[in-house]
């Protein structure tokens, strides 16, 4: 590790410890590190968006490549900024309508197909007498019972109450799996930082 890398990594190590200091209690070191991350991120993505959106999609096509039709989306973009004026804010609705109209037109049919139709189709498979078949039956029972739990037009009592209770258990199993994976994810981040600190300390002492 060169001197420059050692210094930069030293700064990263100090900031890591500053963030971890929150585990003891809130303190100025934590606040500084937190705000530094937010500020650097905002500055970074503002500049990146400027170069990849504004320069590439407005300045270069209009002023260098003479593709004048890029003026139309640019004007629509500028109209979004009229939201800051009470008098002219109605103009921003035109841009928004254009944007939402296109997005809805593109997204709705294909989202319905990918996220609803294909998922329903996958739930309705022939039952086989093997582990996959048992799995399909369990999934189907879990699906129906979970949907029953969210059906509030009928009182959850009697047989319907029992079905919705199975739905709660199914949901709890799902949440449990999600929680377990979340813990695993967070611990992974912590392990990464500890490994970073270990490597840095070893590099610092020339090991």
């Amino acid at each position: 590790m060169g001197t420059s890398e050692l210094l930069w990594n030293g700064l990263a190590a100090i900031l890591t410890l500053a963030i971890f200091s929150f585990l003891y209690r809130d303190n100025p070191f934590y606040k500084f590190a937190e705000r530094l991350v937010a500020g650097v991120s905002a500055g970074y993505w503002t500049m990146l968006l400027y170069h990849t959106s504004f320069t590439d999609k407005v300045i270069v096509p209009i002023f260098q490549q003479n593709e004048w039709w890029y003026i139309i989306p640019s004007i629509l973009g500028l109209m979004m900024w009229t939201r800051f004026s009470r008098k002219w804010s109605w103009l921003s609705r035109i841009s928004l309508a254009f944007y939402i109209g296109i997005s809805a037109g593109v997204a709705l049919p294909i989202s319905m197909y990918a996220s609803i139709y294909k998922q329903l189709e996958a739930s309705m498979v022939p039952i086989a007498f093997d582990m996959a078949g048992i799995n399909s039956v369990l999934v189907t029972i879990g699906l129906i019972c979970s949907l029953a739990y969210f059906f509030f037009s009928k009182e959850h009592s009697g047989l319907f109450g029992k079905v919705s209770r199975v739905g709660i258990y199914t949901l709890m199993i799902g949440f449990g799996a999600g929680f377990g994976l979340t813990v695993m994810g967070r611990i992974s981040l912590f392990i990464d930082r500890v490994l970073f600190l270990k490597d840095y300390i070893l590099a610092l002492f020339g090991a």
């Binding site: 585990l23 003891y24 990146l48 189709e121 999934v139 799902g174 994976l181 611990i187 392990i191 270990k198």
Partner: protein, 276 residues
């Protein structure tokens, strides 16, 4: 009863300290825990392994420093596998704060494996609005990326000769910590029909198993565990394998805390009910 009341009112800082120690101790006394390979990870591995030499895969990586701990080992393992099989890679990144990170990682592994930029791999860089970019790449990669990340026109890169869109590639594998996965499924796979595999954080993995069961994706690499499985498949244990050794130990400690907490809760419940 006093003991059980005490354990339900543990100072959370003691728990943090114990978790911290349970990460540091396995580092000092290395213990190798077994890693079992799951079918969903093997599916991704097999799909890449079966590709003929010279095939091209698209590797969009959408993550930032806050999720790199899980996804960086995954990218390393997948890239090593691809490069060793002489499979060419088109990298890109649609997550604004992770673009330079992904570019560095791609370059690092390519250097390790002796691969040449433009011939064995390219990096397209970043463009905003992933859904639009994914769809335009289905027409022609050049629509959104007339030039690569370094400003070189795509047509001048040898690897991109006769490569127009997804039809000229064999697989899209997105390593992703964002809702961009949904975009790849909906606007990419469903619209253009290419085989899609995903590598996601552990938090996200549970949400995408339904897409695996429906056949909309060919496989999932989930979190650090998935990355460790992939490392096992390529026969090179690295960051994820080391991380999972520690992770397994920490999980034991967390389970212990959950048991202690529940025992304390159950033993003091009667008393609390009496007070109510």
């Amino acid at each position: 009863m006093y003991f059980f009341e005490r354990i339900t009112k543990f100072d959370r800082r003691i728990i943090f300290l114990v978790i911290g120690l349970s990460v540091i101790l396995p580092l000092l006394f290395r213990v190798d825990m077994p890693v079992d390979v799951t079918q969903e990870v093997k599916n991704v591995y097999d799909r890449i392994d079966e590709l003929p030499e010279g095939s091209i895969i698209v590797l969009p990586c959408e993550y930032a420093p806050d999720t790199m701990a899980e996804l960086e080992p995954m990218l390393f393992a997948v890239l090593r596998h691809c490069f060793r099989k002489n499979i060419r890679v088109i990298g890109c990144g649609f997550f604004v704060t992770g673009v330079t990170l992904v570019e560095q990682e791609l370059r690092q592994i390519a250097k390790e494996e002796g691969k040449v930029y433009g011939k064995d791999y390219i990096f397209l860089g970043y463009r905003p609005y992933p859904a639009v970019v994914i769809m335009s790449m289905g027409q022609d990669f050049r629509q959104s990326f007339p030039e690569d990340y370094y400003g070189t026109p795509l047509d001048s890169l040898p690897m991109m000769k006769n490569v127009k869109n997804y039809k000229d590639t064999k697989l899209v594998l997105t390593i992703n910590a964002t809702s961009g996965v949904d975009y790849w499924i909906i606007y990419g796979h469903e619209r253009y029909g290419f085989p899609l595999a995903i590598g996601v954080t552990a938090v996200m993995a549970a949400d995408y198993y339904s897409y695996l069961n429906s056949g909309q994706i060919v496989g999932i690499i989930g979190g650090l565990k998935g990355a460790a499985e992939y490392e096992k498949l390529i026969g090179q244990g690295d960051l994820a394998t080391m991380g999972m050794n520690i992770q397994s130990f920490v999980h034991l400690v967390i389970v212990l805390f959950i048991v202690i907490g529940n025992v304390g809760y159950l033993m003091t419940r009667k008393k609390r009910k009496g007070l109510e």
